[in-house]
């Protein structure tokens, strides 16, 4: 059992976990300030017979302070987040050398199409495998998402990548895995009664392993 | 333009703190209701605009499916009924209930005719094969789709948005006709409206003009563009 974000296995983990931590610190300060303040006031100012409360309608200076500080913090946070957002999801964020993989979602399975030997989708040597996503490590992967029926969502927690798969739209997402291993691809958008079991295995392999696997899988698929 | 004293409002304290909006409750209530109606039609019209903007292909050119002539006449009719409504309002402001009754009746007739023509138009369209789901198979319009006069890819959206928008507009007109008839029978005929009390006429008038206004927008974006 662990108490933090899932293990890190892609290049997005750096900025996203970093931002998460930063926000945790900011909100943590606000949290402590408020909760400790409340408890303190509750204890200190509880009613005592014969005492009258301090009659005041407010204090402009205090209010200005606690308006500006959050405002400045939030704008700064917005700018920083946006910086990473543009790198992760922005229009031109997909690295040009990204390796394309087609992912077609349907109730309730993932159909993964590999580009075959030529490294291009939409050619004759493409082949499709159910519920198995193999990717080479250390290389940007471009997933081209399409859906057969309803909205699904492509989610690999260890990669910090999530993208809804919307019927009628061609959506591209990208990521770059950094640690070889086996992970799980989940569907994180309610898509019907089988939503909970719409999962696939993700294999992050070294380039050689991947190439070997692909050769074999292509052969199996063509039979 | 105030006549708070005219439509004496039981709910209103004899001397209000501030004079609120200085508009009697019924009228204020109607304006507020119209604000929500704007949002309702914004949802329908917005949907139409967004769907058409992002449609997977050309939209059917105006005038092929829909009968523009008869609808243009209908538009004119609604404009007329709007002016007759405002004439009724002006008449009662001047203290002329007879004239008011006449104009109110004209408004009702205009509105009812509008609805009648729209029903006729719907029947006609459906006969030709234009339905909310798009184009009915084997119909006259299906032939036009087949020969390329109408774009197959967007006819489904066309049907959905057309019937929903005009249908809900028609529903609003019908409600207007019903409430005006009700007021005509229970208030106007018994002579309950006067120079000093015409809140009902003004309020229903506001609704009626709003419905007209919506039609003006709908006519342009649905029939002409």
């Amino acid at each position: 059992m662990h108490w933090w974000l899932p293990p890190k296995a892609s290049t997005f983990t750096g900025p996203i976990d970093g931002l998460f931590l930063a926000i945790l610190i900011i909100t943590g300060i606000a949290f402590v300030l408020v909760e400790v303040g409340l408890i303190w006031f509750v204890v200190k100012y509880r009613a005592r017979p014969g005492r009258k409360a301090f009659y005041t309608h407010g204090n402009t200076r205090a209010e200005v302070i606690w308006t500006t500080i959050p405002a400045v913090t939030m704008v700064a946070l917005g700018l920083i987040s946006n910086h990473y957002w543009v790198q992760i999801k922005g229009r031109n964020s997909i690295p040009p050398n990204a390796y394309p993989i087609g992912v077609h979602a349907k109730q309730f399975e993932w159909q993964v199409t590999y580009p075959g030997a030529d490294g291009k989708l939409g050619t004759a040597d493409d082949f499709t495998v159910r519920n198995q996503l193999h990717v080479p490590v250390g290389r940007p992967i471009l997933v081209q998402l399409s859906s057969e029926d309803v909205i699904h969502s492509f989610y690999v927690p260890q990669f910090r990548v999530r993208q809804d798969v919307v019927p009628g739209m061609d959506i591209k997402a990208w990521f770059q895995a950094t640690v070889p291993g086996t992970y799980e691809l989940g569907c994180s958008q309610l898509c019907g009664l089988g939503h909970y079991r719409m999962r696939a295995q993700v294999f992050v392999q070294t380039q050689e392993d991947y190439d070997a696997w692909m050769k074999q899988a292509a052969q199996e698929a063509s039979q | 333009m105030t006549h708070a004293a005219a439509a004496v409002d039981q709910m209103r304290p004899p001397f209000p703190a501030e004079r609120g909006l200085d508009v009697y409750n019924k009228k204020l209530g109607m304006w507020i209701f119209l604000a929500s109606e704007v949002m309702f039609f914004a949802a329908l019209i917005g949907t139409y605009i967004i769907l058409r903007f992002g449609a997977p292909g050309e939209w059917a050119r105006p005038g092929i499916v829909l009968n523009i002539k008869i609808t243009a006449f209908n538009t004119f009719l609604l404009i007329c009924s709007s002016v007759s409504m405002v004439k009724a309002y002006a008449a009662i402001q001047d203290g002329d209930p007879k004239k008011m009754r006449f104009w109110l009746l004209m408004t009702i007739l205009g509105g009812a005719t509008f609805v009648g023509i729209q029903v006729y138009e719907y029947i006609h369209l459906i006969e030709h094969g234009f339905v909310p789901a798009g184009v009915r198979e084997g119909s006259e319009l299906a032939a036009l789709v087949a020969n390329g006069t109408l774009p197959a890819a967007t006819m489904g959206l066309y049907g959905s948005t057309f019937f929903t928008m005009t249908g809900f507009h028609g529903f609003h007109v019908t409600c207007g006709v019903i409430s005006m008839t009700y007021l005509y029978l229970t208030k106007a005929l018994p002579g309950k409206y006067s120079k000093n009390d015409y809140g009902g006429i003004e309020t229903v008038g506001l609704y009626w003009h709003f419905v007209d206004l919506v039609w003006i927008i709908l006519f342009t974006i649905v029939y002409l563009i």
Binding site: - | V23, G46, G54, I216, I225
Partner: protein
């Protein structure tokens, strides 16, 4: 009961509306101009007509500013919504 403002000439507004409608029809079906220009002109005419109805028939022109604001509040919201929905298709 005050009628401080002069009552607008309703018949004149009616004529305006009728003429503008005729203009719209002519514009839509007779005038050989580029589609986008046509679209813009048509929308302009529609808004013009709507404004006439709002200002004179619904006598917004003669109401106090706070009632006018009430009437106008929803419009920017609607516009924001439509623009956001459309932006989906311009990227």
């Amino acid at each position: 009961m005050e009628t401080a403002h002069k009552r607008p000439n309703y018949i004149l507004i009616w004529v305006y509306l009728a003429v503008l409608t005729a203009a719209e029809l002519a514009l839509a079906f007779e005038l050989p101009i580029p589609r986008n220009l046509k679209l813009l002109l048509l929308l302009f005419l529609a808004v013009w007509k709507a404004a006439l109805v709002g200002l004179f028939f619904m006598h917004l022109k003669f109401e106090k500013w706070n009632l006018r604001i009430l009437a106008l509040v929803p419009l920017p919201l609607a516009v924001i919504f439509i623009l956001a929905g459309m932006s989906e298709h311009i990227w």
